[in-house]
């Protein structure tokens, strides 16, 4: 893709269409079509599957260099990451507790005077480390669009209604078993400016801490069966199907509450830990448990 088009998309992505139906404007020669993007996405996917067949290791994280996500073109390191053994501060995590987060912050449907519009859902699961141990007493932050696919953020000018009863941010502290639980509204898909007719599958942003700073991660949780998965260059930055599937929640009828809300389960596994047991005196400390 020529550089000037990249620059234009970079700036346009920040200023989505201000007027309704702008997205329905006739195909203009400068804008790339979904077919163009899908061809790129599919070619990268097929090359990866061939490499896997030839014995390459599965890729478990997104590619930093993934050109179909146009904004990544100038924002990925071109030199390989420097392998480092985590040291001192990196082997510990900042501590969060109930001074930081109020219990009601995990319910995104009670932050205003009225009930938000949309499908009420419960999203619950556990945060585990790579050894399968629960990450207890740690901070989980989420943010999301409303049921119409609109973010409160001032840069989101997508002509879908703002919901005066829904902001779309939540926090909680994990329990002793690493569990978290949010009550919220199912977010809508929304359009963006990566290419013409680009739509993000519905998702909830998750921000997580582990017991060590090297486990820090921000990611997105998706909903099962979304038809936009193969078309979305952000979801497809993860080229491995098994890895992509790890971002998709499972509908869980045992979490569903009668005449109230549908339940989705999503467990999160962090990397590591790297700290050895002898250095591990603080392990499992649940922060302040008042």
């Amino acid at each position: 893709m020529p550089k000037d088009v990249t620059a234009e998309l970079e700036s346009e992505e920040l200023v989505p269409p201000a007027e309704p139906k702008a997205a329905h404007a006739p195909l203009d020669a400068a804008a790339e079509s979904q077919a163009d993007l899908s061809a790129e996405i599919n070619a990268l996917g097929e090359a990866y599957r061939r490499a896997l067949k030839d014995g390459a290791q599965p890729e478990t994280q997104p590619r930093l260099d993934y050109p179909p996500y146009r904004s990544s073109i100038l924002r990925h390191p071109t030199k390989s990451l420097q392998h480092a053994d985590p040291e001192t501060i990196e082997l510990y995590s900042p501590a969060f507790g109930h001074q930081d987060v109020h219990a009601l912050e995990s319910d995104l449907t009670i932050q205003h005077n009225g009930e938000p519009q949309g499908e009420r859902i419960i999203v619950a699961g556990r945060v585990l480390d790579g050894d399968g141990r629960p990450v207890a007493g740690q901070l989980v932050e989420i943010w999301q669009a409303n049921a119409s696919g609109r973010y409160i953020h001032k840069r989101d000018q997508h002509p879908a209604p703002i919901d005066p009863n829904f902001t779309g941010i939540g926090r909680c502290i994990t329990g002793p078993d690493g569990s978290y639980r949010f009550t919220t509204i199912k977010p809508g898909a929304y359009p963006w400016k990566n290419h013409l007719n680009a739509w993000r599958p519905a998702h909830i942003h998750f921000s997580l801490f582990g017991t060590e700073f090297t486990q820090r991660i921000i990611t997105q949780m998706y909903f099962p069966g979304d038809q936009l998965f193969p078309l979305d260059p952000i979801y497809q930055t993860i080229v491995d199907q098994d890895a992509r599937d790890r971002l998709v929640a499972t509908y869980d009828h045992s979490l569903t509450e009668p005449e109230w809300a549908l339940g989705y389960n999503w467990d999160i596994v962090l990397t590591g830990p790297k700290r050895t047991w002898t250095e591990n005196e603080a392990y499992g400390d649940a922060g302040d448990e008042e």
Partner: protein
């Protein structure tokens, strides 16, 4: 030990974190102007040398004596407790600012550094790096990470000391002076 689980993949922070991740005094590990406080400031650049207006950083560091602090209260700061962790989104000109302390060495002779996690729209996964203090050149020369790097790349991890005692440290995501980013796995 149980069998290793495969970690959940990361995803970009996207463009719309601005109403969710920032919080009051998020970038003030210490009240500005309080004894021992310094300014840590820098600019985030993309591969074309343009500043990035939608990046957000977190710093995590020992206190001035080199102690690793395990205190809660970062999200609701009381103005007195040093928690060692802060979050700062860049402004429209790509500049981030923290108020913090110079981290102390965690053991005698160690080069003090601040750990950094970087998130941005267009960045598909978070990046880790370090900010070293420039003063103790002997400790810097002996540092395991710095001594494993080419000399010209090493400098991307070392902050400049400003005349007023603050630190300046820029991030370049791509290009000739690309910052060294770390892989801990």
């Amino acid at each position: 030990m149980s069998t290793k689980l495969v970690p959940t993949p990361g995803q970009t922070v996207g463009p719309f974190y601005g109403y969710a991740l920032p919080f009051e005094k998020d970038n003030e590990l210490l009240a500005p102007g309080s004894p021992g406080s310094i300014r840590l400031q820098g600019t985030v650049y993309d591969g074309a040398g343009h500043t990035i207006p939608d990046a957000i950083l977190e710093i995590w560091q020992p206190d001035a004596k080199g102690n690793i602090v395990q205190r809660t209260g970062s999200l609701v700061r009381d103005g007195y407790t040093f928690t060692g962790w802060g979050r700062g989104a860049v402004g429209n000109s790509g500049v981030f600012t923290f108020t913090t302390v110079n981290p102390g060495p965690t053991k005698p002779g160690a080069a003090p550094f601040i750990s950094v996690a970087l998130f941005a729209r267009g960045l598909t996964n978070r990046l880790f790096t370090r900010i070293y203090l420039p003063e103790d050149t002997e400790a810097l020369a002996n540092d395991p990470l710095l001594s494993s790097l080419d000399p010209e790349r090493r400098s991307t991890l070392i902050a400049r000391r400003d005349p007023d005692g603050g630190l300046t440290w820029d991030i370049r995501l791509q290009g000739e002076d690309e910052t060294v980013f770390l892989d801990f796995q």
